[in-house]
Amino acid sequence: MIKDLLNPTNFNLMVSKISDILVRALDEPLGYAINWGRIWSLWPVHLETACCSVEFGAASGPRYDVERFGIIEAFGSLRQCDLIVVQGTVNRKMAPRLRMVYDQMPEPKYVIAMGACAITGGLYVDSYNVLPGVDGIIPVDVYVPGCPPRPETLIQGTILLQEKIKRSKIK
């Protein structure tokens, strides 16, 4: 009987059946755990594009403390960040640099487009030097409207991003 069980074909079948059960059992909680880790430590790159950076600075202040959500502006390199907040107008000179910064970040990475100028060009849509929205160069996850958005709006945007990350599957 044991000899039967341990011959190659049967052994392979047994191993694949056991691993199937294991993956299905662990996929949900493991994915949940990994996502939980990602949500509560989104580190933004220190890249300020234009005037909305003032409201982002105010959001990091004591009143609208964004650090309690895990968003600490990491002062190290951008190789350890996973969030870009495009703060405001992106113009033609800044666009290639923004793309370079986005490319250099490791996966998984998320993008928040903050402010009307980052979404569609906003007030400056007819200027000669301004891109009409940033989603032409990098894929945006969450759009936060306002000119400039109040810090509470920015926090709502990050909570939306957190819910989006929670729903994503880990491969």
Binding site: V45, H46, L47, E48, T49, A50, C51, S53, V54, E55, G57, A58, S60, G61, P62, R63, E73, F75, L78, T89, N91, K93, M94, R97, V101, L123, Y124, D126, S127, Y128, N129, V130, C147, P148, R150
Partner: protein
């Protein structure tokens, strides 16, 4: 040894090899302190360093250049206000103040007295908001996170006041040609006086905690000294000029609106180093509290706040140049009108652009580690310089 070396060189040259001598330029390293950098904001400058000393510096602005001056020509005088306040969104009352003064001169509008007082109050509040943000970012540059948290928390008081006054936290769109948009709400005066008395006590704490910190003093004293002759010749403005011993403040030299009735002193220091450039904004803030108290005191009890205007005012052809003292220095507007409701040419002369010329002048010859301290003490706001 020498002869042996020369002999070796000769031999190898005979074999066809060339000895590449170490040239001067090879020792220099070019660094690009770029737009993605915790120490530079939305601005890039390339520096060449020789070991630890900076040899050459070349600023490269333009990362936030949005074409403000060109856009002004396509909108009427009043329609220009919202986009003109975006270059410095937290000091927006001053940048629109200067524009309103120039347009009023062109078109020939007389602003009612109560409106002038409210404009001056908004200007002083915004000056506090800007200077506190500048101090907070200075804290980030020097790695002092308390110096980031405290000013950011305290400026929320003044932002609350401006929120109650105009409806928006930072970009108020409050000053328009002809006065201000609306009157002050009830209870504003008491709230303002309460906040000012709290803030004056806090300023003493700032001075005790931040400015007497031995690390802060070591990083900023004697660093980047700008002499008085250089400051005048380079044409710098604002707190940079006053820190080098020139007591020039446009509110005193060329008083506009109601500043000729206010009694205050121009704060200046003589040493011209980074410590003086960090001290002068603090003294300016103290003086600004004093000015605000007088303005609230002397304001007329009631009256119009805005002159009655057509939707698209226009005036005779001509030009005007008016200046205002903003958080960074003299902010001037040169407007040319050709009789139509849209301006023909608007030139914004901002303090940050004028101070940029001091950056190569001061960095060359100083150490690389002094770079954040020198750069940010020049009171340079990149978004404004690019317009």
């Amino acid at each position: 040894m020498e002869k042996n070396l020369e002999h070796q060189i000769d031999e190898s040259e005979k074999l066809g090899m060339q000895i590449v001598k170490e040239s001067e330029d090879d020792r220099l390293m070019t660094l690009s302190v770029g737009p993605q950098h915790p120490g530079s904001g939305h601005f890039r400058f390339t520096i060449k360093v020789d070991g630890d000393y900076v040899v050459h510096c070349d600023p490269d602005p333009g990362y936030v250049h949005r074409g403000e001056e060109k856009m002004c020509e396509y909108r009427s005088f009043i329609q220009n206000i919202p986009h003109l306040e975006r270059p410095v969104i937290h000091d927006s009352a001053n940048i629109t103040y200067s524009y309103s003064l120039a347009v009023e001169e062109l078109v020939g509008i007389q602003v009612p007295r109560r409106g002038q007082f409210i404009r001056a109050i908004a200007s002083e509040l915004d000056r506090q908001i800007y200077t506190l943000y500048w101090l907070a970012i200075y804290g980030i540059f020097l790695g002092h996170s308390t110096m980031f948290m405290w000013p950011t928390g305290d400026r929320e008081l003044f932002i609350d006041l401006m929120d109650a006054l105009s409806g928006a936290r930072v970009t108020h769109a409050f000053n328009i040609p002809g006065g201000v948009r609306n009157d002050i709400p009830d209870g504003f005066k008491d709230k303002c006086l309460r906040h000012i008395s709290y803030f004056e006590k806090r300023l003493k704490e700032y001075e005790d905690i931040f400015y007497t910190n031995p690390l802060f003093i070591q990083r900023t004293e004697g660093v980047g000294i700008l002499t008085k002759e250089d400051a005048i010749g380079l044409g710098v403005t604002g707190s940079v000029l006053r820190a080098s011993g020139v007591p020039y403040d446009i509110r005193k030299a060329e008083p506009y609106d109601v500043y000729n009735e206010i009694d205050f002193k121009v704060q200046y220091m003589k040493s011209g180093d980074s410590l003086a450039r960090a001290y002068v904004p603090l003294l300016d803030m103290k003086e600004s509290c004093h000015i605000m108290r007088q303005l609230l005191d002397k304001m007329p009890e009631s009256g119009e706040v805005r002159a009655k205007l057509q939707p698209t005012p226009k005036g005779p052809p001509g030009e005007a140049y008016r200046r205002v003292e903003s958080g960074r220095g003299a902010l001037g507007y040169y407007i040319v009108s050709d009789g139509s409701p849209k301006p023909y040419r608007v030139k914004i002369s901002v303090g940050s652009f004028r101070n940029m010329i001091a950056l190569p002048h001061l960095l060359v010859g100083s150490k690389l580690a002094d770079m954040p301290s020198v750069y940010w003490s020049l009171n340079y706001w990149p978004v404004e310089a690019d317009r």
